[in-house]
């Protein structure tokens, strides 16, 4: 089951009603102080008002919370230094979307009414589409924390971007790795419950079969389902037996699946995606040994990341647990480069600069948008779990011509 290319009628109705209610509120004086943009169009000092429609609670909190922590660290540092270029300060307005698409639209409408210069949306396509549509209509740039489904910008429009590489790109990296390892027969396991889990197996299949491999079985699961025993039985019965299994399942489904898989004695290699880059996967110990997955970078307190670890620890009193804290900080660095280019807090100037951004320096590498499909053009890191630790296999930037086309 594929997602529709745009927001549903219900979503549009919710969005419209929310907007009407907010406009009414403004008309009666509520929110009067924030209804106009604080953004001059010159290079005079001004404040970039960043609206964050993120999930502080619910099923997406695991991705949005660390991203926000990273971003707020960056904003604090920038403001402490007097702002971007010493004159563009950052104001962050955070509202909880509760991991719900309808609530994301409501929150986005509230933030747009507050005169934001840019909107940050949740790290998943479905709520980001609902929120991004509001920003699109108002000519405001919207950027997803790390929603990696390439349908996201296509479904919303030219003002919707994502801080993530596309799922088609990470699937291509996994397929090339499988081919390089000599795997010939693959099994894919997806779920129709989200664009991420629904479409990634298809991208992998297209790329793997283009490389000469064969997908011998395709399974589906329901997110949060009690048991994967039946799926494991199905894999055991396949002939030829798969030598590699690819799945975009993430917590809590991935631990359940791999426990059932290894518990049944199946030793085929397992390939995963960025959703499993977390301590939960590492804590699976022997069961997760050898699991290889794509992600934005290797979260280790060394090299370019050591300064981030120090700063993060100073602010939050703990080490970052997932790479999403780094990607949140990198979204800040991207905004830094954009505002330097735009020399303005104006929403349209920011959009122009974001669309043409090239080579912004992040922590894991450079980030560009110019010439792309509004998904971040950034390297994909391939990581293997060895002795319960992340080990870098390599970083890859596949030729866009060989990457499967985004499916709507």
């Amino acid at each position: 089951m594929q997602r529709k290319s745009g927001p549903s009628k219900v979503t549009k109705m919710v969005v419209s009603l929310s907007a009407i209610m907010l406009l009414s509120a403004c008309a009666t004086g509520e929110g009067e102080a924030t209804a106009t943009s604080s953004a001059p169009t010159t290079s005079e000092a001004c404040t970039v008002k960043v609206g964050v429609a993120g999930s502080q609670t619910g099923g997406l909190a695991y991705i949005d919370v660390p991203n926000l922590e990273g971003f707020e660290l960056w904003a604090e540092q920038v403001n402490a230094a007097g702002g971007i270029d010493g004159k563009f300060t950052i104001e962050t307005v955070v509202k909880d979307t509760r991991s719900d698409a309808a609530q994301s639209a409501t929150v986005a409408a509230e933030l747009v009414a507050e005169g934001i210069s840019i909107l940050i949306t949740p790290g998943d396509a479905d709520p980001s589409i609902a929120a991004g549509q509001l920003a699109q209509d108002e000519g405001i740039t919207a950027v997803s924390w790390f929603g990696s489904s390439p349908i996201l910008p296509l479904a919303v429009g030219d003002h919707m971007f994502s801080n993530a590489f596309g799922d088609n790109t990470q699937a291509k990296v996994l397929a090339d790795h499988a081919t390089e390892m000599g795997y010939q027969n693959a099994y894919t396991l997806g779920s129709p419950d989200s664009a991420y889990t629904n479409l990634l197996p298809g991208y992998f299949k297209e790329a793997f079969e283009a490389n000469g491999g064969k997908v011998v079985g395709e399974g589906t699961f329901s997110m949060g389902q009690a048991s994967f025993s039946v799926i494991v039985d199905e894999i055991k019965a396949l002939s030829p037996a798969p030598d590699v299994i690819m799945t975009p399942a993430y917590e809590p489904d991935f631990p359940t699946f791999i426990k059932a898989l290894r518990g049944a004695g199946i030793t085929a290699a397992v390939l995963g995606t960025d959703g499993i880059d977390s301590p939960t996967t590492l804590a699976l110990a022997d069961i997760a040994e050898g699991v290889t997955y794509t992600t934005a970078g290797v979260l280790k307190n060394e090299g370019a990341m050591s300064t981030f670890f120090t700063d993060y620890n100073a602010k939050y009193g703990k080490d970052p647990e997932t790479i999403y804290a780094v990607t949140g900080y990198e979204l800040g660095l991207t905004l830094d480069a954009v505002v330097k280019q735009a020399q303005s807090c104006d929403a349209d100037a920011i959009w122009q600069a974001w669309s043409n951004l090239e080579g912004a320096q992040g922590i894991t590498g450079t980030i560009s948008y110019k010439g792309g499909d509004r998904m971040a053009i950034r390297e994909v890191a391939l990581v293997e779990i060895k002795n319960s630790e992340r080990s870098l296999v390599g970083t890859f930037a596949p030729d866009p011509a060989t990457v499967p086309k985004a499916q709507l």
């Binding site: 949060g224 048991s227 359940t256 426990k259 290894r262 518990g263 004695g265 939960t280």
Partner: protein, 295 residues
């Protein structure tokens, strides 16, 4: 033959967990007329207590025991703090209270522990499988079946032979009469919550061990399944809760095993359609009492 063995093993292991969960709901419903949607959060709490026990180096059996007891005590506290003050309010008020407790606990878990799931390390002997004929059955499933069946037998013994067991069964038939016979309502309700919490604890431990992690929202899907199970069996029927658990499990596993791949994404929709068909044949659930409204 192997497929049949696998099917039965999967049905019994999942059905036992569903039955334990639905029994927990049914016990409270029988004395208070309330479907406690915070039951799932009791499972989640059990999972976190189990994790804490394991991480602090307690023996696995002790961590499990403490986690199950924590589920029971938490349910009793929940009754005292949240449900007792509104006991005489309408059913809708009780239901809203259970939703409020559920959401409050979810947010507490998310903000107090972590929005991310936490891996629960279980002993390595539980991660392997045994060969039965040509079939391989994981030890987690064997443990689920064993614990599920033993728990259900213990419950049957409790309901058949103990004073409180009789009282709860009698309350399921007519709560007011039980009161007239000298059973104190407050103690009976408190005991029902305690028992419900212990059942949530056992089911929670099985769920967490099978899934390998615990997260703040873990309880939602199981409590939804338990609600459906309780409705299929007949709300308030303890026998029905057990039967409903195995019926829902049999439907889910059968569809997952034999549904054509191109229809598989609609599995949940097919499952609930079958549930509706069952309810259209048995409007009060399979073991439910016919409702009689006096005019």
């Amino acid at each position: 033959m192997d497929a049949l063995i696998s099917y039965l093993v999967n049905v019994i292991s999942l059905g036992g967990t569903y039955a334990l969960l639905a029994l927990g709901l049914a016990v409270v419903f029988s004395v208070l007329g309330l479907i406690n949607f915070a039951h799932g959060e009791l499972m989640t709490l059990t999972g976190y207590v189990l994790l804490a026990g394991i991480l602090t180096g307690q023996p696995f059996w002790l961590a499990v025991l403490v986690a199950v007891i924590a589920g029971g005590i938490s349910a009793a506290l929940m009754e005292f703090a949240a449900f007792r003050p509104v006991r005489n309010a309408s059913g809708a008020t009780l239901l809203m209270t259970s939703f409020a407790v559920s959401m409050l606990l979810q947010v507490l878990f998310q903000n107090g522990i972590s929005p991310r799931g936490q891996a629960v390390p279980v002993p390595t002997w539980l991660t392997t499988s045994l060969s039965i004929g040509n079939s391989q059955i994981s030890k987690v499933q064997i443990m689920s079946i064993t614990v599920g069946v033993l728990s259900l037998l213990a419950l049957k013994f409790f309901f058949d032979r103990s004073y409180w067991g009789w009282a709860i069964r009698a309350a399921a038939d007519d709560f007011e009469i039980v009161g007239l016979m000298g059973v104190k309502a407050s103690r009976l309700i408190m005991f029902a919550f305690l028992l419900s919490g212990l059942l949530a604890g056992v089911a929670g431990v099985l769920w967490v061990i099978q899934r390998g992690s615990v997260d703040p929202l873990m309880g939602f899907k199981p409590v939804l399944a338990a609600f459906i199970v309780a409705v299929i069996g007949g709300l308030g029927s303890l026998t029905g809760a057990v039967a409903g658990g195995f019926i829902l499990s049999a439907i889910e596993i059968a569809l997952q095993t034999w549904l054509p791949p191109n229809v598989m994404p609609y599995r949940d929709a097919v499952t609930y359609t079958l549930v509706v068909i069952i309810l259209s044949i048995f409007p009060n659930g399979i073991f439910g009492k016919k409702s009689q409204e006096k005019v």
